[in-house]
Symmetry: C2
Amino acid sequence: MDFQGVKGTRDFYPDVMRVRNYVVDAWRRVSLRNGFEEYDSPIFEYLDLFTIKSGQEIAEQLFHFTDRGGRHLAIRPEITPALARMVNARIGSLPRPIKWFSVPRLCRAEQPQRGRLREFFQWNIDVIGSDSVLADAECIFAAVDFLREVHLTADDVVVRIGSRPLTILALGAAGVPTDRTEAALAVLDKRPKLSDGDFRKFAAENGLTGGQVDFLCRFQDCAEVGEARELLAGQEGVAEQIDSLAELMAALGSLGAAEYCTLDLRIVRGLAYYTGVVYEIFDRGESLRAVAGGGRYDNLLEVLGGPKLGATGFGMGDVVLGILLEEKGKVRPEIQTGSLDYFVIAAEDGTFETVMRLVGQLRQRGWSADFSYGAERSTGKQLKEANRRNARTAVLVRQDGLGVKDLSTGRQEEMTVEEFLRGVKAARD
Amino acid sequence: MDFQGVKGTRDFYPDVMRVRNYVVDAWRRVSLRNGFEEYDSPIFEYLDLFTIKSGQEIAEQLFHFTDRGGRHLAIRPEITPALARMVNARIGSLPRPIKWFSVPRLCRAEQPQRGRLREFFQWNIDVIGSDSVLADAECIFAAVDFLREVHLTADDVVVRIGSRPLTILALGAAGVPTDRTEAALAVLDKRPKLSDGDFRKFAAENGLTGGQVDFLCRFQDCAEVGEARELLAGQEGVAEQIDSLAELMAALGSLGAAEYCTLDLRIVRGLAYYTGVVYEIFDRGESLRAVAGGGRYDNLLEVLGGPKLGATGFGMGDVVLGILLEEKGKVRPEIQTGSLDYFVIAAEDGTFETVMRLVGQLRQRGWSADFSYGAERSTGKQLKEANRRNARTAVLVRQDGLGVKDLSTGRQEEMTVEEFLRGVKAARD
């Protein structure tokens, strides 16, 4: 028999696990310092919860099943529906704005390809209960704060910020009928992935005239808020949306994220449920899928049986991010390598009981410590194991005392067991 | 529409999530300082992987499904089969002993009840590639090191240690035929859960004579290794098993875990795959299920297509542990409560841009900092929010400078923005 993991899933061996922990720990640390609180939902839920937001076709991408009790269940492909469910259930008692984050494990029954797996982890940051553009700014700033934390600079990555409502106003200005809005947004969403010729062909097939395409491209190519204001001048509601975008960019400047952020009205986001600002984070080389994507979604809680409540947030998966960190040389070797504070060595016969006693004492004081089970092994072999384990200090136990050796400098001090233990304070004092 | 989570699963709201993180962080910290490296496996695998170890009947307890590609898959109910699969795949290159840990999310399609849910987390510690009893001792010591870490004393919990091979020798000495060994072990495994009368009835139904039951009870009730040695004197292989148990208890003493550990030959463990030392951790009151259980399983890697290799380890779930921590008052309020380093307040009109700048600067230096979106709110209301969020320091921003207020002492210092920022070092310096 030959057992293997399922294609599109990953085995996290210790070296790979350390890189995952490096990323997840940074997500957590950055979230907490940005004032977000962690939550989590179950790995499986009723199937309905996931299909109601994004439609039955998402069931194609779900691992779903019927349990012995006849319940139709699915492994979560995203956490936002569960977030909305949880917030709705306590809507009366949660102080607002609700600033929550999570790092869910998610599964999608997709064909595995570069940057896309069947199982992955996704950082989710959301602010619920605020209509303020500051909530959007906080989410984007948290993303930038994380990018800086893992040493991705503004030369490596860019946050491209668009606006759903402004794009809808542009569609109106171009003369696209209201009942064609969703279809036209889906067309525009494809533009960054197509050549100009292919895009125009695709747009024509979907009922947009050449003049409409020209106008919409001019709108999408506005490099500054002011240009879009001029282009859409006279349309009702434009001033409000323009002011809101300008306020967002100013807030990002005040918080200190401006260098990473750029207005990009080509960003529309595929999912129908976005209602305001939308954004995606890309590598500057644009050789990869988006590293993250998000925006405002003010209707979702209502769709899931709750009140209409302002909500905004994003998701950042670990797969594309992992490729990017690797390509940019940001996964330093020491991230993948384990280490120990102490390796305790039986350097003479009859000292093994003391070795174990020292190891137990060190661990209980919070220091990582280990030893070799082969008590009869030579001191040299045990020292080799200490080095292989990246121990900082080797403690050589002899009948008459200890040699405490700093393995980076090679310096060794002699002392008694009691002197050594007196000198070892609790690790977190 | 009314959406709910599935019965037997948990929604981790921030207060509950903090308790989960408190436990998981302690599991990780203790594992690392005991020299274990973290690994993880996918949440779903081929169904076969889980049924081959424990038989088809375990499929009853699995959430399993067939995906669009016709693959028979299951959500993992335990991680040990995946551990064996991963180790087997790299058996030639992994230095031994392999000391690995994991904190997998696991799912079982069981009826939810006290201490048992359909989704839970389980700390797994394993040593693979060593036949030494020191490997068993290390696992048990790590469990004890964790119990101490979360302030569960030897008065709260006990590690009960038994031996499969010694019990099998006792069955031989009692005259139980070899082909009845597994059945007789299953009978003995039930003893702690039954009254003496019920146990004798159950044993008789399963073919044990009254004399055999008397002998086996005498064996199981031995309080010390020496008693068992006398009782089984003359049986081949007894000396070896007794010496091994004695060595284990001595090693636990040297490491510093003796006060938590006791010999208890009633411990047999239900699963057929154990081959050596077995143990379970219980609350002293014995009102709960086992907090943890484990032992040596030297055949599993071979069953999964690998070599015969010594292996030992345990699992500790978060559900029974959580009840115990709660009952013993070990979940201190501060574990459930979030906090902030700084809350920055717009104390005068026209200061909001400075508020945002300070918040951004503090976060980028590693400090947790937040502010109120309602820039027009009164200073009093913003101070109230600072207190609700357990901020340590409030920074009141005025046109002419800052008031920096320690919220525990109430002391306030006046300074300029520049003075403040000069004084705020990076959080992890």
